[in-house]
Amino acid sequence: MSHVVDRHGAWLVSLLMVVGCMILPAIGFAADSTAAGPTEYRDIPYIGSRNLIWIVAQLHLLLAGFVLGVPIFAWLCEIIAWKGGEQRYDKLAKEFTKLLTSAYATTALFGGILLFLLIVFYPKLMNYLTDIFFPSFLLYCLLFLFETATLYLYWYGWDAMQEGGKKTLHIFLGFLLNFFAIFIMIVPNAWATFQSSPVVISEGTAIERAWAATWNPTWWPINIHRLIANVVLGGYICGAYAGVRYLAAKTAADREHYDWMGYVGNFIGVFGLLALPFAGYWLMREIYQYNQQMGITLMGGFLSWLFIIQAMLIGVLFLGSNYYFWLGITYRIPGSENQYRKPILWMLISLLLCLAVWMTPHSLVASIEEAQKMGGAHHPLLGVLGVMSAKMTVSNLMILITFMSFVMYWRAGKQDTAPWARLAKAVMGAILALASIAVIILGVWGYFVPAIVRINYFSTSQVAIVIFVILTITPLTALLLKSAKTTTDMVWGRMPPRAGYALVLNAVMVILLMALMGYARSSSRVHWHIYGVMRDTSPYAYSPALGSASLIMVFCTFFFCLLVAFIFWVATMGDKAKGVQGTVKQDLPHGIPAMAGGGPERGEG
């Protein structure tokens, strides 16, 4: 054991040395360039100040998303255990809260590095932001104190506060933890959104100025978007963790436990994913309304291809999540695959058709000959699939299909006994069919009405229809299942290895998506530090092309995965020492050489 730990320690030291080496020259150069006048920018050789800030900021953001997503996830699980009495949820919640302390420290570490690097590399910008936001900087520090205190109480009090009123208090502590966490998220969100949609006033007290700048047009859309995205991230990372552990599990008990954990993680991820497109749509709408130029840069201008890539990633995520549901039906419910093969085939085909529409770009990549045959960069027939109306329609349909996957999974292996079951099923089928038709009709009609009608009424109606379907079918199904008799019990721990890989794939997609959107948000400001207010006059005022940016995103994703693996490993070290389950021994020691030698991308950042 000690041998293993030593190797871990060595790895940690080498990591710290790498980080140190990256930062040291920065300090040296900083000293060099402060000679004449107030310094506006500093740089480091090879990697470049912008790239370093980019990587550190992205890692910090991903970690923060994880640290904010996990408490929501854990708290929800704790409540489920408290209300439903299933102790394994409580165990799961505790297992994840355990991660929080080390994850929290890592996030703070990266936050600190980011802050120092920003001060070192972008003194002019930081000076300006400090001027405007210093009251909220102070508030942020205060929030951190509260959050830390609550976290310690929540974690260390877990076992002590299990019974009766104490448990209620513990649940309340969990609420407080999330409450502060949300503020910890939205306060810095204000600084970031201010950069893309600034509201500047020069009069008034410091607090008034900070408040005006905080309440900028994209602040709340980003807050909501990030809150949901964090839940999605937390869920899918939980799933991926379970997937990896499942692959390595040796005993039946372990397989059962991690199979179930993977299911819960995937479920929470999908649950959030269903709401995410709505939040994203709202954000885009606010950006357009705030500044048409920025909206066009994103959707029609130099970033338009990014959204095709985004569509592909989300497409893989939808496919992966549904695949996992479907695998769950055929493997966990013995003898059910023939019954569900046909519906699954139809759902798969519809999903693929939706994806095909979603991924079809408006302006196509075409050779000069192909363009001549099409009469321009738009395909005369498929080009119409490239605009917003079509994309909104299919994303709504994809949400509906994924929701139906879940309902199917939920109902699988159960037989309805209620006398009104036939009627209820007919009603549900009718609702679903009518809703899909209505969504499609609105989508097609959207081509023939002015944009504003489409955006304000049609798109919102489509969203409302989908929400209506979810809100009617969920309780109906729950009612049906209450009286249903179980024909086949779910058997946990029988999933094939590819299910574990599907979970890992989903988590990687979510992380990549967050990295991609980080690039999009930053690039949409083009050559401004603060849009329209403070111009970026550094040599890094340009935004790199998607291809070279993708390698940095890949690096961030990979490095973040390793960090998370490290956090999980640190947090579960105690379990092994106790020797509770002899099985865990097998998988983790392998992790270390993988980390040390597993970073082929590290060089390119």
């Binding site: 050779s367 000069i368 000959e369 001549q372 094939p496 290895p497 590819r498 890989y501």
Partner: protein, 277 residues
């Protein structure tokens, strides 16, 4: 048997399918007529620089370019005589010859034609390198021929009103009129001593090319109808001189094929092991 092997298969199958699609697509494109690109075929022997009817021109694939009336500059025109321009090109490694063919019902002394190239790395607007507002543009190099003089003029421009002949004239041109059709041959060496003023043609590289044609017919009042900026023009298209054969690609291909063979070997061995296990 393992999902990992499925993953491998996914990748392999995907690339194979993509390859097949490209293969078939490429084959279909190959037989289609060239469009948008003038390809100067590499030939040996003297180029037919002053013979538009030489049989050697049959070695070069013809490309047809649609022509439009010039509308960009205020002194524009609504209709033009020449609707299509057929272009062929040949080169021998040092010298380039370009043949323009177009139908013109009348032979007039003011009939004229021109080829335009970008000079240097900066993109130039096709209308005489007109300055662009948000992009820093470069100059253009124009090869001009007029029926009256029946010789080539080497010109330079960076925006309307800046057109001027080079001090050094490198371009030759010769036109022949027969059966209601002009055939004009332009020729020049591929590279010149003035890279700032002349287009430099590197075999293998695509450069932009555009064309202009003036029908020198006079109206009833004795005025030439197409003159100056009132002319038939084309957009920017592509030009490429065929490079000498390069065999280094075969070496890379061989290495890749050996690697693929190795991959295949290992994969099948692993599959067999998996079966026995």
């Amino acid at each position: 048997m393992k999902p990992e092997t499925v993953t491998k298969w996914l990748i392999r199958l995907g690339s194979t399918v993509a390859l097949l699609a490209v293969l078939t697509g490429g084959a279909v494109d190959g037989v289609a007529q060239e469009s948008g690109v003038v390809r100067a075929a590499l030939v040996t022997g003297a180029l037919p620089v002053d013979d538009p009817n030489a049989t050697m021109w049959n070695n070069a694939a013809p490309t047809v370019f649609p022509m439009s009336p010039q509308v960009h500059w205020p002194e524009r025109i609504q209709q033009v005589t020449v609707q299509d321009l057929t272009v062929r090109a040949l080169h021998d490694g040092t010298q380039l010859a370009v043949l323009l063919e177009y139908e013109d019902p009348t032979e007039d002394p003011d009939d004229a034609a021109a080829i335009e190239f970008m000079v240097g790395d900066k993109k130039a607007h096709f209308a005489h390198g007109q300055p662009m507002l948000l992009v820093e543009g470069g100059p253009v190099n124009i090869w001009y021929w007029k029926s009256r003089d029946n010789k080539g003029v080497d010109l330079w421009a960076k925006g309307f009103g800046t057109l001027r002949p080079h001090e050094h004239q490198d371009v030759k041109a010769k036109g022949e009129y027969a059966n209601g059709k002009w055939k004009v041959v332009f020729s020049r060496s591929l590279v010149t001593d003035h890279p700032d003023e002349d287009a430099q043609i590197m075999p293998g590289q695509f450069i932009n090319i555009a064309f202009a044609v003036w029908d020198g017919r006079k109206d009833d009042a004795g005025q030439v109808i197409e003159k100056g900026s009132q002319k038939a023009v084309s957009s920017w298209w592509y030009f490429r001189a065929e490079p000498p054969p390069d065999y280094s690609g075969y070496v890379y291909a061989g290495v890749a094929a050996v690697l693929a063979l190795g991959f295949q070997f290992v994969l099948i061995r692993k599959l067999k092991e998996g079966q026995s296990a």
